[in-house]
């Protein structure tokens, strides 16, 4: 599969179809995979593909340092690919200008990451080129999707708040969660605005809670569950739980999973007169 990937990228670069390939590489066999940007056909052997290729590379489609390389091909796993659809819906990418190389994936990490356990997109579905073959997702993958958050919600509200107070007390506001997120492409994040300061920039519990509420809610109906924020957090905060809870609400209330159906209208910035609630009096 790796050979096929390298061949594919070599051909794309040789033909001039793209000027650079965003993929995974590594310096020595023991190192984790890192994002690499291959511009020359002879460099394609730097590309790797295995279950330590964690990063969601679609983030780089909003990094000007990468866009400056010219026309791009990008390697995506099934989960990452969902981000492309959201970015397309939000006018951030011109899909016709990007060659998408889909990587068949049976999950990453040892042990498998939580997201991989309930993954139902082992094979990228809208890639221009798909490399490899993946196993068929478990039939009950979908059922497990929200298991963690459902378990968490069984705790008492006091317990939940105590949990977040403990977790968020470690947040140093390094914004790794924001910077790795493919959906965080704002030119100036609201937290960096100072007239007015709507979210305290201090890494206090107050500022951290306001920031994480904001980050999570700005992803409502947009987050594709790549869990890069959780992976990136140096404070080890399980941000996945926040995202999952909103993903659950989006699916339960509006039957919507971001990045899944190209024909589905985004739920944010839209409404239905039939939206159902029982809490407004």
């Amino acid at each position: 599969m790796l050979d096929e990937l390298r061949q594919t990228c070599r051909r794309l670069l040789q033909d001039g179809a793209v000027q650079a390939v965003i993929g995974y590489g590594r310096a020595s066999p023991d190192d984790p995979a890192v994002p690499v940007f291959i511009s020359k056909p002879e460099d394609v052997d730097q590309l790797v593909w295995d279950d330590r290729c964690f990063a969601n590379l679609t983030k780089y489609l909003s990094r000007k340092e990468v866009l400056s390389l010219g026309k791009l091909a990008i390697c995506v796993k099934g989960c990452d690919e969902r981000a492309l659809l959201v970015l397309e819906k939000e006018s951030q990418i011109d899909r016709s200008q990007i060659t998408v190389i889909g990587l068949a994936c049976d999950g990453v990490g040892q042990p498998r990451l939580a997201k991989c356990e309930s993954c139902d997109v082992h094979m990228p579905r809208r890639a221009d080129i798909v490399v490899g073959k993946a196993t068929v997702p478990d039939a009950d993958a979908g059922a497990k999707r929200y298991a963690e958050i459902e378990e968490f919600l069984k705790r008492t509200p006091q317990d939940r708040m105590a949990y977040w107070k403990k977790e968020l007390s470690r947040c140093v506001k390094c914004y790794a969660c924001r910077q790795v997120c493919p959906m965080c492409y704002c030119r100036q994040c609201i937290v960096d605005k100072n007239r007015p300061v709507s979210i305290s920039t201090s890494a206090t519990l107050k500022g951290n809670l306001a920031w994480q509420i904001t980050r999570a809610f700005h992803l409502a109906g947009r987050c594709v569950g790549c869990d890069e924020c959780t992976r990136a957090c140096p404070a080890g905060i399980d941000l996945r739980l926040l995202n999952l809870s909103l993903a659950k609400a989006a699916e339960e209330n509006f039957g919507y999973r971001p990045g899944m159906d190209p024909d589905a209208e985004p739920i944010i910035g839209a409404y239905s007169q039939q939206d159902h609630e029982e809490f407004i009096r």
Binding site: M161, K206, A210
Partner: protein, 145 residues
């Protein structure tokens, strides 16, 4: 009547300019008395009311927050309240996950004709919040490290 030592909750109400604000005006015109704990912030439409405002209200020491606007179908701007409703459906899930007390965040549709409803809603929220006591859980969060 001196109730200086009784807990007086702070309630912040974000209301739309065309329905709930006028409903509160009507409550005034009809001299419908209600507790003085509420502070109204007038915005053009519930569509303008962002979740950050709810968070900020708690940071500023609110014991309860009310968001109120036109009934579905009555929005002065045709659809602002529908957009708002959809956001709140999602936002309440986030509050639940975080363990933020749903009894502190209230939503209502109050039309310009519903002065009576405004009086009832404010009275009820005030009583309920008095029973809950100050929102110390959030105030602790806001204390300096």
């Amino acid at each position: 009547m001196n109730e200086a030592n009784v807990f007086q909750p702070k309630i912040i109400a974000y209301v739309c300019n065309w329905c709930t604000y006028l409903g509160a005006d009507l409550a005034g015109t009809n001299r419908l008395e209600y507790p003085a704990n509420v502070r109204i912030i007038r915005l053009p439409c519930t569509g303008r009311i962002d979740f950050n405002l709810i968070v900020k209200a708690f940071e500023r020491g609110a014991d309860a927050v009310l968001v109120s606007g036109c009934h579905p179908g009555d929005c002065h701007y045709t659809a602002g309240n529908y957009h708002a409703r959809r956001r709140w459906i999602l936002f309440r899930q986030l509050l639940e996950t975080l363990g933020i007390d749903a009894n502190r965040v209230h939503f209502s549709w109050i039309s310009a004709a519903e002065g009576k409803k405004w009086q009832q809603v404010i009275t009820e929220i005030t009583e309920k919040t008095k029973a809950l006591g100050p929102y110390t859980a959030y105030r602790e969060i806001c204390q300096e490290c």
